[in-house]
Symmetry: C2
Subunit: 349 residues, 2 copies
Amino acid sequence: MSKIDEVAKLARVSKGTVSNVFSQKRPTSKEVTERVLRASRELNYVPNQIARSLVTKRTMAIGLTIPHGRFFFSAFHTQFINSVVLEAARYGYRVLLDMIPAQDIATPFLASYPIDGAVVMDPREADDRIELMQREGIPFVTIGRVQATAPTPTVDNDNRKIVRDICDYLFALGHGRIAFLNAGVSTTVAADRRESFLEAMAGRGVRIEPWMMFHKPELSDERYSNYGYEETKRVIEDSGGRATALIADDDRTAFGCLHALKELGLDVPNDISVFVICGDDSMLTRSTPALTSMDLRPADLGARAVTTLLRMLGIVDGDVDERCIVDSGIVERSSCAAAPNQGRNRVER
Amino acid sequence: MSKIDEVAKLARVSKGTVSNVFSQKRPTSKEVTERVLRASRELNYVPNQIARSLVTKRTMAIGLTIPHGRFFFSAFHTQFINSVVLEAARYGYRVLLDMIPAQDIATPFLASYPIDGAVVMDPREADDRIELMQREGIPFVTIGRVQATAPTPTVDNDNRKIVRDICDYLFALGHGRIAFLNAGVSTTVAADRRESFLEAMAGRGVRIEPWMMFHKPELSDERYSNYGYEETKRVIEDSGGRATALIADDDRTAFGCLHALKELGLDVPNDISVFVICGDDSMLTRSTPALTSMDLRPADLGARAVTTLLRMLGIVDGDVDERCIVDSGIVERSSCAAAPNQGRNRVER
DNA sequence: CTGAAAGCGCTTACAG
DNA sequence: CTGAAAGCGCTTACAG
């Protein structure tokens, strides 16, 4: 790894000129540019990003903060992360994975985060990360609503509308007794979806019963990976078999639902319908039946999050929306059908 | 963000002393330490990682390079990445996601990678990344065998043994006509598994037929996400229904297999057995039947890769193994059973 | 279009 | 145990 001085000497120019050639911040004559490039190639030179960062105050990296120490990625996360990395790369930015709870970091005295900004996934109602970012003065955009003293830019789906749309879709099929396996209790997205669900049900004149709403356990909870399976059994049992439709939070959950229903001898969608929020085609079509879903467009969310952040940083031109809503749409497959007649799917015990 | 000078002045010590307190590289008297810490807190000071990196030559970040621009994570990837991030954090290291093909990077003139080392996933027989790392002088460990001029440390499963074990397992159940849906052609892991499969079959006296070996399409190929589904149909058709067992490369592929077999009216495991290499319990138990698998211990691989890399960097004590093999083991579930009598699963057409 | 020099915010011998 | 000073490898006004 040679340094800028050596290149400058070999190309018979000043360090400043070498710098200009690589940063392209000031024009350089064609002849000089070529001489510098040739010298650089000869010496295998590439600018040192760290030294550059020290003076430009730009690390050229953004943080992607995902809560949890241990985690599972759903299809949503996978597509989202993929898109964030790709979009960031378009502007020469790299992505630092950052998903460690602060208390689990080894070093007692942390150095500053070498990132220019952050994308905060799955925000909670009370989220340490928000406060941390604000204290450190790191610009960030959240994926989903957040509770903060100062307003912070957010990229999100319209979660209230999503649940309303799903309920309307199921209502139209004659369903009324719907159980909702919601996201984690402490997340803001779960709160919004919960409210919207309650409203939709009230609008339809359905009295809410306890078996109609569950929340995904924390990742640290061993019941996490059996969420769909176990709560589906509860739903069927507690509802006395009256439930005619299930809304599952993600693909993993939905597979658990299907598994439980199969064990109970219930047919999907004839006895009971299953609707899943997000998941990708290559998995959702693998089950029997293929799962009808709401496409949350995670790739759009990721790309918008990055451009919003880069706008905040002045890298990309354009105004930053305080609240950017990404469209979503129902993808019909085969797991939802007209509700069975009352009691048809009652379980024998 | 205040700087070291301000803290030094407030604490009435030199910059060097403030530095020592935070780096803990030289002892500092208790009294002075406390004064510095108090001043730091008051000024909300934290050392600037970039400035520190410039002189220490340590970025405190490792790169995780995953091939492809677009990607799907299998359960294997998810658990592996998770483990890498966690293990790195134990030593104060962060993880930079790096999965962009070089030709897709926007900036024509790249600055140096601000990482101390890299973990290279899914190496190919001819892999640009290896050459790049070597040219840039970045220490790296590969997950899987690699073709390189100089030997490079590798953390891996014993892929030959894995396939041998799987074949032995299936042989013991009476299977002989086995189709192998292998990893991508260009990967070294696929090559090792292929050879081992061929050996095992030869040892058993089975003549290899074309329908017995397939390779996963490149991610850029649209057939990628239907690999398991489509090739399973091919296997059944081309073998004239004589195949009695399928080995699938990963969970996603296996779900595709199951889907195809169901459409063909073949019962798993009575008509045909399915064995999957890797996948996690929370998905593998969701299908009908639950999938018997080889547990590759991705979390162990990730942790070992990080410690090996940090040893190369002199961060962690200990010798670095040129080749570190992580154990694997069969997890029996319900998708493999005794082979049916010859022709029992012949498909009617 | 190009150069000389200061400076980004730390760490690290060297000296005491 | 602590300090003064040089230096890490760049970029950026300033001057021409």
